[in-house]
Amino acid sequence: MFELVDLLVSLTFYGTAYGMVLYLLAVGLSVTLGLMRFVNLAHGVFAMTGGYLTVTAMSRFGVPFLAAVLAAVIVVGALGMLLERTLCRRLYAAPILEQVLFSIGLIFVSIAIARYVFGPLAQPITLPGWLTGRINVGIGVFPTYRVFLVGIGAILALAIWAGIERTRFGASVRAAVDNRRMAESVGINVNLVFTVCFGLGTALAALGGSLGADLLPIYPGYPNDYLVYFLIVVAVAGIGNIRGALAVALAFGIADTMIRYFLPGFGRVLIFLLVMAVLFRNPHGFAPKIHA
């Protein structure tokens, strides 16, 4: 009996760590989609870029882990803003098909570049010593790395929530999501809000990609193979539902971990069917207000 409880606790914990990484990867997509109605399937490209930058900075230049992550996040965030200013912006009013094609094009180009520069194999990340051991967190002894992921994810989720609900910038974001023209007419610089949000979203993806590199390995197929997971989090939570994205990412992480442990024979079939069942009942996810 105790063994079963122990097992469930540790599966829940592993699922939570996985869910936190998914949350970091997907939350930026949820914001850009809710805000600009921009269907950016290339979100994983930024996560992969962040991961590659972190791994390279550490192995090639001996930069410590956290400094490498920070540098990668800043660089990718800047790249994201640049891309928004130059290309993405031109597609906000375009039909969804063009947005999808643009992002598929970006995915293909990034896969080719990643394969050319880093080769087809996954880039292993060498975690620093203080992240490699195991640690007792009261409910059990778990790998420090996962505990770190859960902690960072919780802090960031709180920060994102506070940033959106409690700051002036967050208020402009919410206003622009609800009604762009109204927000513009009360003097909010919506274009600037878009650029900053896109940059923050890509920076968060880079953070998820770098921190999660040991969980979701960095390889050229990354933006394609994990795409469906980002989309699940965003779609099930509902477009632009940022608090919901955390709940859905955690629930998905835990459910996926449990299913893989108890019913390994089905692979990913069951979790996808579960997602379909949820969306069959709530076609707009858990935020029926906004349609994107």
Binding site: V39, I111, V228, R268, V269, L273, L279, F280
Partner: protein, 315 residues
């Protein structure tokens, strides 16, 4: 009206003339014909209904596996196999359409990806039925209609595939030109308004979805019969994107998009991938970006723009 009739006959004439003009490229021609059929079926959804999906490989792949398994376990007659492939894909279209068509845009894309992944995982895990990761092997097809045995040079394969494509095009044409097809375009342009005037939007979309699925399934079945093999990557997200790219390259919702896009794509792939297989992804990526920013509407839009200019000059 006359111009579409002329162009329609040109399409058929192209299918007839190809083996006469390029007898050495029949294998390539067969591949193109099958991909045209598949891209054309996707056009029903993307071009006419305005539904963007990345899941078309699911129907193609299921059609291919169904036809392959049918040939191995039931009957090696190709025509029955085509029906089996089309029927299997249509069943998947009915089931997945009931879930997918409740959503739009991003959610629809995600669900269509998930459909492909579910099918891929099942094909991979049901090894006793599908051959798993090695693919479905050992298919031997009987002569078409008991008369025309598949030959080494691919002559029968080409003619068989071309006839199926011609029939598919006739079906596509009558669908698109009918009132039903017009109502699909109406739904694409403004779904809310179509609902308001009493169009049964959901039923129409579901019907179009099943028709597209069945047609893609027939294309998959053709592929399985001609190659006498089904590879697991017929059910991949990459192949889904490729079908979409072919269609877009030609132009979605423009009747002949698939007929232009698929051959251009295959020839480019054949040329570029032979020169430099590793960078093929780079080229299609750049091609996509170029289409989005320079040529929205694809090749057909360019061609019709050119045609209009020529007409203008004549006047």
């Amino acid at each position: 009206m006359t111009s579409t009739r002329v162009l329609d006959s040109l399409v058929i004439a192209g299918l007839v003339l190809f083996p006469i003009l390029a007898p050495g490229y029949l294998d390539l021609g067969t591949r193109v014909v099958i991909l045209v059929l598949c891209a054309m079926s996707l056009d029903l959804l993307v071009g006419y209904c305005g539904l963007v999906t990345l899941g078309h490989a699911a129907f193609f792949g299921v059609g291919a596996y169904a036809a392959g398994i049918f040939a191995l376990r039931a009957s090696a007659e190709p025509v029955f196999g085509l029906l089996a492939g089309g029927a299997a894909a249509a069943v998947l279209g009915i089931v997945s359409g009931a879930v997918l068509l409740r959503s739009r845009r991003l959610t629809l894309i995600m669900l269509s990806l998930a459909t492909v992944l579910i099918m891929q995982e099942m094909a991979n895990r049901l090894g006793w039925l599908t051959g798993g990761a090695d693919g479905l092997q050992g298919i031997v097809m009987a002569p078409v209609a008991g008369q025309f045995a598949f030959d080494l040079f691919g002559r029968v394969s080409y003619v068989y595939a071309a006839v199926v494509l011609a029939l598919g095009f006739l079906a596509f044409r009558s669908l698109v030109d009918s009132d039903f097809g017009k109502s699909l375009v109406g739904i694409r342009e403004n779904e809310a308004r179509m609902r308001a005037i009493g169009t049964p939007v959901d039923a129409r979309l579901r019907t179009a979805f099943v028709a597209a699925a069945a047609m893609a399934g027939v294309a998959g079945a053709l592929q399985a019969q001609v190659a006498e093999f089904v590879a697991l990557n017929a059910l991949s997200v990459e192949f889904s994107s490729e079908i979409l790219i072919m269609l877009i390259l030609g132009g979605a919702g423009r009747r002949y998009g698939a007929f232009l896009g698929a051959p251009v794509y295959v020839v480019m792939q054949d040329y570029l991938a032979r020169e430099d297989p590793a960078n093929w992804y780079l080229w299609i990526g750049l091609l996509l970006l170029a289409i989005v920013f320079l040529a929205p509407g694809g090749l057909t839009a360019w061609v019709s723009m050119l045609a209009q200019r020529v007409k203008g000059k004549r006047r």
